[in-house]
Amino acid sequence: MRPLLELTGATVRFGADAALDRVDFRLFPGEVHSLMGENGAGKSTLIKAITGALPLDAGELRLEGDHVAFASPHEAQAVGISTVYQEIEVLPNLSVAENICLGREPRRAGVISVRLMQARAREILLDLGLDIDPASMLGQHSVAVQQLVAIARAISTDVRILVLDEPTSSLDLDEVAELFRVIRDLRSRGVAILFVSHFLDQVYEICDRVTVLRDGAFVGEYLTTELLRIDLVQKMLGRDMADLKEREHTDDAAPEAAVVLEARGVTAAHGIADADVDLGEGEVLGVAGLLGSGRTSLARALTGVNRPHAGIIRIEGAGVHLDSPRRAMSLGVVYSSEDRRRDGIVAELSVLDNITLALQAERGVLRQLPVARRRELAASWVEALDIRPADLDRPAGTLSGGNQQKVLLARLLALSPRVLVLDEPTRGIDVGAKVEIQNLVGELADNGMSVIFISAELEEVLRVGDRVAVVRDGRIVRTAPAGALSADALLALVAQPDEDGE
């Protein structure tokens, strides 16, 4: 059978970095195809390349064998490629019918006909098995219905390819079942569906075929029925061959040194339930888990970024109430976010201001760090972490990813914290900077700092961490000394659902 859509050698560059590097991708009519990969694998870029939101720097896109190049999403839509993006893009202040027919309102004698529009919307909604009044305001319906209306809009044209980017992230189980029924129905009508989700269960339930991407490169295309879950995860995570200094690991399950941070039963909305953590002085606790496993929720709950619903956190034995990052920082617990650009760097401020930001915030508005002291401090961190270019007055947003991460680290280390929580500090940065950060974490721990090191790369977690906690489906499923785990064993823990875990 000939693929409906075929992408060969697709390359998309942002500046010097390739977000997609010679990726192949095929989509057949009447199939549900999943795109799998961790953060930064290139999923979104690939979708944008298919839907005309981004031009290809190299490679070819074919539709039914014919070469095509879309200048805009509108052109892609015209040939039957519709997309429903992750953030629901509907207009809550318009009616359901108006949302569905937006930009394609049926007209009679040049005037939009509300009656025709509602009839058309009702027809499409019935197709989806959705019994709501097309004249009602969309905003009064649940998020799930809004999501389905977004899909209704996408299929209201003659859709041949439907792209669903994380469509289930805001739906509950029944709503997911409803969505899957619609997807199966569309599939039986010959529509090709690209379904992107980080929920493995859903991928295995609905998808016929998966394409795996890693760091912008094509890993492979597989039939879901022939690919074991553990193999899929391994292909997504890959193996990191970076050259790294080995650290001496202790083999005890509990930390030998005094416990600095102790958490019991920590529970936070959307993500982590009933988590117990013990972090010893000078210890690196690696946290392994997939995207959406709860690894980030755990880190944010432990550092006051998101207030936990339940649970107890003690620092050096004393119960603490971490209701803000500021409070956590004053107790020596600091957090570096996985999303540097959104939650980390203040892009337009200089490297100098970025490095001294947290220290200045801690001192308060009135006690400004003297200029000379600030420069000296920032310069010493720039040198110690080898931040390049070593220009204190350059806007931090113009630095490369690795150097931005180092600026963030410098900002936090300037506070001389006791507990450093790093959420994917090595994601999306070049290998050299990665190894430097890994080695730095080791040195900091050797000097007595306690570190929680979160990463999707299992080998990295094993080599950097003294102990490793595995997070899956919002729970810590196992905590073990790094020396006692092989990469394969860790992979099994990260990937398998509970019943196969033992």
Partner: protein
């Protein structure tokens, strides 16, 4: 040379100097000063004196805009402030008493501060969008002012109160000293404490600032308090100038002129990096323009059109796209220079400026 050209205050300064040059040529009296009874007079002095209310409001607006906010209620706060001050003086029975005037001024400033606290509360605690939050007071404030004055235009004849806007101190208008004092205090507080950089951080990336431990709520709240208080002071200047509290006329449209001054001074409405010096220049541009329009004898009904044309020119010249286009033109006009300069260096420059 290029760095001066690229400096963000370059165009505002050019615009101001151009206006002054045009005026100096069109009316030689413009740059002349006369001394009478130990008091300095002249067109420039008038500009400096009359710009005081807008200067105060624009300074506050700069800080608010730096936090990604906007304060539409400044005109209404001016009206309330004037109403409070004049009602106190009017009811005291001793309008000429310095003590009474001082009490009235302090009371008016306190009321303005409270209104600023209210704005800041809506924005920083309740999380209401600044434009909506301050719209509440913009619409309600004049009603409050009318309530205070009992629906009348309260007029007073008070020497000490009139002195604030029309008096002289050491040969210069007293209002000018108020302007300078406000600029100095705001400038010093923003740059000599960490408030400036923390305000910018909150304006550029609120979430990153929160994760860095910045108390953004206090910083945003404080910005609205400063803006409200400065608007109150502007309201006193206005009322002092006309010796009356006119709730319907005080500070009408001043929020828009203040925003314009901030933007003319090179501060982005998207928040973040701000420039007090830029705002000062922006205010002087607006006030000089106003004076020019008066001088040229443009009929008052048409003066907004003239004003708008000049503003459009200044804003267009400042737009990054136009600047880049001018940059490209000047570069392509210098093929010889490019041959002398190593081409690599040129490319680097282009990258940096982008």
């Amino acid at each position: 040379m290029r760095s001066i050209w690229r400096h963000r205050l370059f165009w505002p300064v050019v615009a101001l100097l151009t206006l002054i040059a045009v005026n100096s040529i069109a009316r030689p009296n413009f740059i002349k000063f006369r001394v009478r009874d130990g008091e300095l007079f002249g067109a420039i002095i008038t500009i400096l004196r009359d710009s005081a209310p807008l200067m105060l409001v624009a300074l506050g607006m700069t800080i608010v805009i730096a936090t990604r906010g906007i304060d539409l209620s400044v005109g209404a706060i001016m009206a309330v402030s004037g109403a409070v001050a004049l009602t106190i003086i009017d009811n005291s029975g001793d309008a000429g008493n310095l003590g009474v005037v001082l009490i009235a001024v302090v009371a008016a400033l306190l009321v303005s501060l409270v209104l600023g606290v209210w704005n800041g509360f809506l924005v920083s605690v309740l999380g209401i969008q600044p434009i909506i939050a301050t719209l509440v007071l913009m619409l309600a404030g004049r009603g409050v002012a009318l309530l205070i004055t009992g629906g009348f235009i309260t007029t007073v004849n008070s020497e000490p109160f009139s002195f604030i806007a029309t008096g002289y101190l050491f040969v210069l208008p007293f209002a000018f000293f108020i302007s300078v004092a406000a600029i100095t205090v705001i400038g010093l507080v923003e740059r000599r404490t960490a408030l400036g950089v923390l305000t910018e951080a909150v304006g550029i990336n609120p979430e990153a600032s929160r994760l860095a431990g910045v108390r953004s709520r206090g910083i945003i709240w404080g910005a609205y308090i400063v803006s409200g208080t400065l608007a109150g002071l502007a309201g006193i200047l206005y009322a002092s100038n006309i010796r009356a509290a006119d709730a319907n006329a005080a500070g009408v449209f001043i929020e828009l002129y203040a925003i314009l001054a901030v933007v003319l001074g090179g501060t982005s409405l998207n928040g973040g990096k701000f420039s007090i010096a830029g705002t000062v220049i922006g205010v002087l541009i607006i006030q000089t323009l106003d004076s020019t329009i008066l001088f040229l004898g443009v009929p008052s009904a048409q003066s907004p059109v003239f004003f708008a044309i000049v503003v459009v020119v200044v804003v267009v010249v400042q737009s990054p796209r136009i600047r880049n286009a001018i940059g490209r033109m000047s570069r392509s006009r210098q093929p010889k220079a490019a041959a002398v300069e190593p081409p690599v260096e040129d490319k680097q420059k282009a990258e940096v400026t982008r």
